[in-house]
């Protein structure tokens, strides 16, 4: 027998009492429930905005340790001078204006039993549903020469947009004409699969104009380019011909910072600017909260809700998740996780059925120069038999070629995805 909601409430009121019913969905103060979000990047900020937009009666608090949002997408264009930091740096006023509470602090512990988040300042936040969007942290343990803070400040990753982006730009500006820029990056999965190849294009774009005798050595841990291969090779063999030395299967063993050398298993590569992106894992708070389920690196989730498979009541978004098959770690994907999660969190708090037919779409643009870009796209649908989300057969693909038209779409994508999170 199925009862209508109204009929059900009427019956339950007559028997168990209204107060008990209210206990399911409300937490006092006229709020339907409390959502706490850790991290205000592409995942967290978007989830906060959408919970508030779709359910204004839910209290939403975001904990963010930084003062503002700096976009990783587009940040490679800062390295080339094709754009500036100011164009990828934004504040959280838009979120505040929508009624989201921002707490500038760092989450240091999660007690899932009592549903509390402890902050560095010592205060705690109570939640009904917690959304953790911690991004990535780097596994420096695998690179002994980069363990010290001093070494990390000299051999940069610039794989989180911010001070490192600015510092790497300065290193490139200071490099002599005829110098060698070395980029080394890890095996998949890592944040932004096409990112390293785009970075090579952007650095080449700068060097071609400013220091044309310079060279780029690409040390790819993977056996081949992992994304948009034909499109990137067209740029490398075309507009950047003779500048780029690509070396696959180049897993890092160590870095000699003093000697400015990247050590591989059987080889050593010297450079004037070394840019090493260490392997990564889910951000530290995911580890502290017990959310990591795979290879001591990533957080398993149910893709219908983004709820952790390890800790009930806690949802994980973005690059920190154990990616589903053919799902990239990208800003687009974090944005899509956030909306699926927001819808599910609202349903769970309000005792409504959760959507089972999850759809997600990914579109990632890469710039090969300041004015030309191309995309990779995919559509994903939840498969109840496989209990995961998988690419829809026949969908998705890449650009035919890089173009100025797609560069305008890439900037349009950036402006819209930024407004989704922060606007």
């Amino acid at each position: 027998m199925t009862l209508s909601r109204r009929e059900f409430i009427k019956r339950i009121s007559a028997t168990a009492g209204v107060a008990a019913m209210a206990g399911c969905a409300t937490t006092g103060n006229g709020s339907a429930g409390r959502v706490v979000v850790i991290g205000a990047g592409y995942g967290g900020a978007t989830a906060a905005r959408f919970v508030k937009m779709w359910a204004p009666d839910i209290d939403v608090t975001v904990v963010e340790r930084g003062t503002g949002f700096i976009s990783c997408p587009i940040s490679n264009l800062v390295l080339s001078g094709n754009t500036q930091m100011a164009n990828i740096t934004m504040g959280y006023d838009g979120l505040r204006n929508r009624g989201v509470r921002l707490v500038r602090d760092e989450a240091v512990a999660v007690d899932a039993g009592s549903r509390q988040v402890r902050l560095a300042a010592g205060t705690t936040l109570q939640y009904d549903r917690l959304i953790v969007s911690p991004g990535i942290d780097f596994m420096y343990d695998s690179i002994p020469g980069l363990k010290s803070a001093d070494a990390q400040n000299r051999v940069l990753h610039a794989w989180k947009a911010g001070p490192q982006t600015v510092a790497l730009r300065k290193q490139l500006e200071a490099m002599r004409d005829g110098g060698v820029y070395v980029l080394q990056f890890p095996m998949m999965p890592y944040r932004c699969p096409p990112g390293p190849y785009e970075r090579v294009c952007q650095v080449a774009d700068y060097l071609k104009k400013a220091k044309p005798r310079s060279k780029i050595i690409v040390l790819d841990s993977n056996p081949d380019l992992v994304s948009k291969k034909g499109l990137f090779l067209a740029a490398w063999n075309g507009m950047y011909k003779g500048m780029i030395d690509y070396r696959p299967n180049s897993e890092i063993a160590d870095v000699d910072v003093k000697g400015m050398t990247v050590k591989l298993q059987f080889d050593s590569v010297k450079g004037d600017v070394l840019n090493v992106v260490p392997p990564h894992r889910a951000g530290d708070i995911a580890q502290k909260a017990g959310l990591i389920t795979a290879n001591q690196r990533w957080c398993g989730v149910d893709w219908r809700t983004c709820e952790s498979t390890a800790v009930p009541g806690v949802h994980v978004l973005g690059d920190a998740t154990l990616s589903a098959p053919a799902m990239p770690k990208s800003a687009s994907m974090a944005n899509q996780h956030a909306k699926v999660c927001a819808a599910a969190v609202i349903s769970l708090i309000k005792g409504q059925p959760v959507n089972q037919d999850t759809m997600m779409m990914n579109t990632c643009y890469s710039f090969v120069s300041g004015t030309s870009a191309m995309h990779v796209a995919s559509v994903h649908r939840y498969d109840p038999a496989q209990k995961t989300i998988a690419p829809v057969k026949g969908s998705g693909g890449v650009s035919d070629k890089a173009s100025e038209l797609e560069a305008t779409y890439a900037w349009g994508w950036a402006k819209n995805i930024w407004a989704e999170a922060l606007g």
Binding site: R5, G94, Q336, M359, H375, V379, N416
Partner: protein, 115 residues
């Protein structure tokens, strides 16, 4: 005083008993969730910040549905939309078109202020 645990268990029992949410509300949420996959590029609720990619809010439903079906069939030239449209069933495309048709057109949120 009722403890959190017993309240949780009670809620679970209530849910198991089955609170019927009107089917129309569920369909509306499903259509909204589908359309939300498009927001990333086309702006929240289809209100594109700079107009590129184009805004979808307030478009005519049947015209938009036809456009997406043409993308899906490869009849309409595109950079990316032919690849994306193939990921959705015709029924899903119809729900998406219906959602955007129901949204009032308007400017997107202002681009977030630079700091």
């Amino acid at each position: 005083m009722r403890s959190r645990t017993s309240r949780g268990a009670w809620c679970a029992a209530v849910l198991a008993a089955g609170i019927a949410v009107p089917a129309a509300a569920q369909d509306a949420a499903y259509a909204r969730n589908l359309a939300a996959t498009c927001f990333t590029c086309h702006g929240t609720d289809g209100r594109s910040v700079g107009g590129v990619p184009p805004g979808l809010a307030g478009q005519d439903k049947s015209q938009m549905l036809q456009t997406m079906k043409d993308f899906k069939a490869g009849k309409r030239p595109a950079t990316v939309m032919h690849q994306q449209a193939k990921g959705y069933t015709d029924q899903q495309l119809e729900l998406i078109a219906g959602y955007f048709a129901s949204v009032k057109p308007g400017p997107g949120a202002a681009a977030p202020a630079a700091r």
